[in-house]
Symmetry: C2
Subunit: 423 residues, 2 copies
């Protein structure tokens, strides 16, 4: 793993696929067709892209029961425990409507309402992750969303993975459809005979799914469009190279485009980690992917001191940040930009990916500068509430009318004046 | 104003300009040029589009002093009072970081951090609204954003409107630049010699500004892209037609594309309001705009009863909703979708546009189904925090490893196992 001692141009090397013009046109065609022909278009695309004809593509109760039988009962209970942890963390995020009152009778407030319906996209194949189901569904559930519809592309045998189905059931999804790609996003956004349209679509997917989400955005809401995963580890010289290497590799195995970066003020640790990464790579089942990722997007930056490391970490604005220093809490106080922060050697990133409770859907590609992990707020909307009394309006209407006329909006001024028969 | 008694196909007629391919290409060209040539490109576009050459386009302290002199001192104090109200309401929205702890030493939390910097776009000409400055700047200020940069296109004489400059100063903007259009958005997103880049861009603008915001989205955050303004008034038979007509017209005068809709269960009120709208239109300075808006986008829907009216209001998901019923609070409890709700006859919409405190930047075009008024949360980001103790990880690492292996991610499993020398 390359060690870089001049950090002046340091960055996380990022590769975001924003699609080709051809892909964009293909996606637009699929959306138009699903919008017009509903289920028949969905069936046609499923046959073409997933290689299976499904007359009825809704998952049945029996299929869910079979998924539970297919899974080790211990695994089911681990999924349930992870779900409990995720639910508990997200419950803390939930807020209530509030109101303030004034002695003149004015009441102002903010009303919170869950979205009516949400669609969750779950990728198929080897990226069919039960954890992704829990992380996308549970915040919506905690928010109070009544209808959560899940979609996922079927395998060639017309099934979904048991882990995904069990996680969906545990999370409380009621409707699951075996459909993927841009056609699934279109069905969620505009509805078909089988699928009722939703207000917001979340969940990861390939470039066609990402482009389709961009296309339907505005007609429905979407979550962020995620780029490849990233980790930055900030470590001083007193940390274990083998543990750091293992954490870097857990990111690298995701994707050849994933970025794993170590920032340290210890030149010795830098050397050790570089050797450890090589040693551990050799025995990984996904060695090829992880090696490519480390070669193309991995880096070890050696800084003058810890303070310079902290500055660099803020510039990188990583999705995942592990802080391995003597006083990780004190270090954390200086971090302004990161999706999730993991403190100390027992907070290895997979703890957060699967189990601890905070969401693993995190801002990538430097967007931690301005965006947040998936959270309950994103499944509720605010409505402002204004109730003025006669006394309150009488006291203020002339000022309001003056402001309106300053902006050249006479009808605004008259609307408040007419309450007191002044025009 | 047309009265419609069959509400089966009722809708808010909405016209959203999403731009032409030619406009999109023009905007892409401007952005590329500003990115490459910085200030010199900004000066060139300002000369071309605003008809003025500005060597130094930053607003000076002297210009701000002049703006204060140009404005009636009473007006300045009204702007200050409005700012105080807006600040007080948004202070209620501000949240703190929080943490939970567990007896096994686990600490989980959510850290809140204001964005580093925000850019606010303020339109020029007759749409240079001081209220818009306050509504966009103050939530960012309350959130704790340190650097707020304002941009606005200069008039042909190279100045900005005094009202806008005074509002900016009152709201606490420190840097103001006389630049508008796509070139201003590009300068905020990517920086020039004069303007430092920001993390988020908010504020309304014409189609070129809207397209530019869409283009830079991802590199920076943006607020929503607003469509024409809308009001829905829900009224029973005991309400005053003249007040309702005045409120409908205060919306209609904004824009020929604005929508003003009355929903009532009283056929008599419907007739009265229709007549009143016609009567009041005749004396409005912006009669032509308001009349066009009422003809093209206005409607009075007569429902069977109040319940049917409430259902219709939820389908319409309006930006502004006035509730004029006997028990407006009880009616409000049944409303799921609206940007802002105004209760009772003394809460005319302009009260909220200018003065009461809640934000006037609201979701248009039906997006109140899933989005919210501009608020303090949008200027802060969340970071998840995970701190596991040795005890906590020891208790759980085998479960985490099992979940990782279920997903085929061996390096994830090893990362937690290596903490206990198991691989």
């Amino acid at each position: 793993m390359k060690i870089i001692r001049d950090i002046s141009g340091a960055s996380i090397k990022r590769s975001v696929d924003s699609g080709t013009e051809e892909q964009r046109r293909a996606v637009q065609g699929i959306i138009a067709s699903v919008k017009q022909n509903g289920d028949s278009a969905v069936r046609e695309y499923t046959e073409r892209f997933d290689g299976i004809h499904l007359e009825n593509y809704k998952v049945s109760e029996r299929e869910i029961e079979e998924a539970f039988s297919a899974l080790d009962p211990e695994m089911v209970s681990i999924i349930e425990e992870a779900a409990d942890n995720i639910r508990a963390f997200h419950e803390q995020q939930k807020r209530s409507s509030w109101f303030t009152t004034d002695e003149d009778g004015t009441m102002l407030g903010q009303k919170l309402t869950p979205l009516d319906s949400v669609g969750v996209y779950v990728p198929g194949g080897t990226a069919a992750y039960p954890s992704s189901v829990l992380m996308n569904v549970l915040p919506a559930k905690v928010a109070g969303v009544k209808r959560i519809t899940m979609v996922s592309p079927p395998g060639k045998d017309g099934t979904l993975s048991p882990g995904v189905l069990v996680a969906a059931k545990v999370a409380g999804v009621e409707e699951i459809f075996k459909v993927g790609g841009a056609q699934a996003v279109a069905a969620l956004a505009y509805g078909t005979e089988s699928i009722s349209p939703v207000d917001k679509i979340t969940g990861p997917g390939n470039i066609y799914v990402a482009l389709a989400k961009r296309e339907v955005f505005g007609d429905v809401d979407i979550d962020m469009i995620a780029g490849p995963s990233e980790i930055v580890i900030l470590a001083d010289g007193n940390q274990r190279a083998d543990e750091i290497a293992a954490d870097l590799l857990s990111q690298a195995e995701h994707d050849a485009l994933a970025s794993s970066v170590l920032v340290t003020n210890s030149s010795a640790l830098a050397e050790e980690v570089s050797v450890e990464v090589e040693r551990q790579l050799a025995t990984l089942p996904r060695e090829e992917i992880a090696r490519q990722s480390i070669i193309d997007y991995g880096a070890i930056y050696v800084t003058r001191d810890l303070e310079e490391g902290i500055e660099l970490v803020n510039e990188l604005a990583a999705e995942h940040l592990e802080i391995l220093t003597d006083k990780p809490f004190e270090t954390m106080a200086k971090i302004r930009h990161a999706g999730a922060i993991f403190l100390g050697r027992y907070s290895s990133e997979p703890v957060g990916d699967y189990f601890a409770g905070p969401n693993h859907v995190l801002p990538t590609n430097g967007t931690a500068r301005f965006s947040s992990p998936l959270n309950v707020d994103e499944f509720m909307k605010k409505t402002s509430v204004i109730s003025y009394s006669e006394t309150a309006l009488k006291k203020n209407y002339e000022k309001i009318a003056k402001l309106a006329r300053l902006e050249g909006l006479e009808a605004h001024a008259r609307a408040v004046e007419i309450r007191f028969d002044k025009k």
